[in-house]
């Protein structure tokens, strides 16, 4: 159902109806923003990169193959935008980690537990930012965005086996960093 609607919307956008693109923006701004945030650790950068990703997607919409799923294609476009940004940015991303974290909806009733979870999330984000970009991408797509390995391989233009290896390497590196900090996953 969603795919049929998307196809129709894309057709309208290609036919010159710019406003129809708003439907796709509303549908996917959240996932793209989250991806950008996990990759950069900065809400401000995530905001800019999300805007840039949608502009780029709009400009290259003609290259989108009708019949394919829009979401993985949009993710590929967004990842390219994010990679370019990370390549250009010489700032220390670790410093940004946790400083500008946007509010996340936490369903925990206990405030102490919620505060602990927030702290843990910030630490985890810090470790994530220390990982090499391709490994970080694989972890974010797999565990934060719950993507299948097939989709991860497609989005990152990788092989299935390589996508799995990156996920494993990412987890293992995170574990080592946590171990070195004396922070265990069950904390």
């Amino acid at each position: 159902m969603k795919q049929i609607d998307e196809r129709e919307i894309i057709g309208r956008v290609l036919g010159g109806e710019t406003e129809a693109f708003g439907v796709l923006v509303d549908l996917y701004k959240g996932p793209v923003f989250r991806l950008a945030f996990r990759m950069t650790g900065s809400a401000q950068d995530a905001d800019d990169l999300t805007q840039e990703s949608f502009l780029r997607a709009y400009q290259s919409l003609r290259r989108f193959k009708v019949g394919k799923r829009f979401f993985p294609w949009l993710y590929t476009v967004s990842l390219n935008v994010i990679r370019n940004h990370l390549r250009k940015a010489n700032t220390l991303l670790e410093e940004a980690a946790g400083q500008k974290t946007p509010r996340a909806t936490d369903s925990r009733d206990d405030p102490a537990e919620a505060a602990m979870a927030r702290e843990r999330g910030m630490k985890l984000q810090g470790y994530l930012l220390k990982l090499p970009v391709p490994v970080r991408e694989a972890l974010v797509l797999r565990f934060y965005e719950s993507m299948s390995f097939e989709d991860i391989a497609r989005v990152t233009e990788d092989t299935l086996s390589s996508a799995k290896m990156k996920v494993y390497r990412g987890l293992e590196k995170t574990r080592r960093m946590m171990e070195a900090d004396g922070f265990t996953a069950s904390d």
């Binding site: 999300t50 290896m165 987890l171 293992e172 995170t174 574990r175 946590m178």
Partner: protein, 226 residues
């Protein structure tokens, strides 16, 4: 660790495959390590998702509305964007056609004369000094190129699909028809070698039917205004 084992572990961490502990790994340290990996994966999965700013969608759409594409982008879009132009020469002789179709025919004739002009220019240039004596024939490349230019200009003007454009194109087609006929007669009079026959043939055998075709196309295009 083998690649196959790693892939199996990753699938386990993703909730697929066998349950812990792995049948191949007996050591408690290894089991502990895998449990830690599982815990990290779970932490990531359970991490609450950050919300995008409320006005993010509006910002994107307002940037899209005010977006000014680069000249290259505009050019490539104009060239690559599919246009609804059909090619039915017989229909052009009989039934009403659109201004776009008519424009297409003029531009095609223009392209033909542009190529012809360039071929003549190179060909006559090789004749060298004898060209000085030629008179009317030596102007054939320029005439072909000027015809190409006029045809393309009329073709582009016809894209407007207006009455004035049609009137100008009709006059242009008549002039072209008359000129092609006269050119076919003048050239062989001026130059008494086989090349003149070739130029004359091109002018009359191609030019006259083409002029007639363009004139009919314009007449049929004008029927829509009748």
């Amino acid at each position: 660790m083998k690649e196959a084992d790693i892939e199996r572990i990753v699938e386990q961490l993703s909730g697929k495959g066998e349950a812990f502990p792995l049948a191949t790994e007996d050591s408690p340290e290894e089991e502990n390590r895998l449990k830690q990996l599982e815990a990290i994966a779970r932490m990531m999965r359970e991490e609450p998702a950050p919300e995008p700013p409320a006005n993010l969608g509006d910002c994107i759409m307002s940037r899209l509305r005010t977006r000014r594409p680069s000249p290259w982008k505009v050019l490539s879009e104009a060239l690559l964007k599919p246009h609804e132009v059909s090619f039915h020469p017989l229909n052009a002789l009989r039934s009403p056609i659109s201004g776009q179709e008519c424009s297409f025919y003029f531009i095609m004739v223009g392209a033909f004369y542009a190529i012809l002009g360039m071929i003549l220019m190179v060909g006559l240039h090789k004749l060298g000094e004898s060209l000085v004596t030629l008179g009317w024939v030596r102007w054939q490349p320029q005439i072909a190129l000027a015809t190409a230019l006029c045809m393309v200009a009329m073709g582009l003007y016809l894209l407007n699909d207006g009455r004035l454009a049609l009137r100008i194109a009709r006059i242009g087609a008549l002039i072209y028809l008359g000129f092609a006929f006269l050119n076919g007669i003048i050239v062989p009079l001026e130059w008494d070698i086989p090349v003149s026959a070739f130029v004359s043939m091109l002018s009359s055998l191609v030019g006259v039917p083409t002029g007639f075709f363009l004139f009919r196309a314009i007449q049929n295009c004008g029927k829509r205004y009748a």
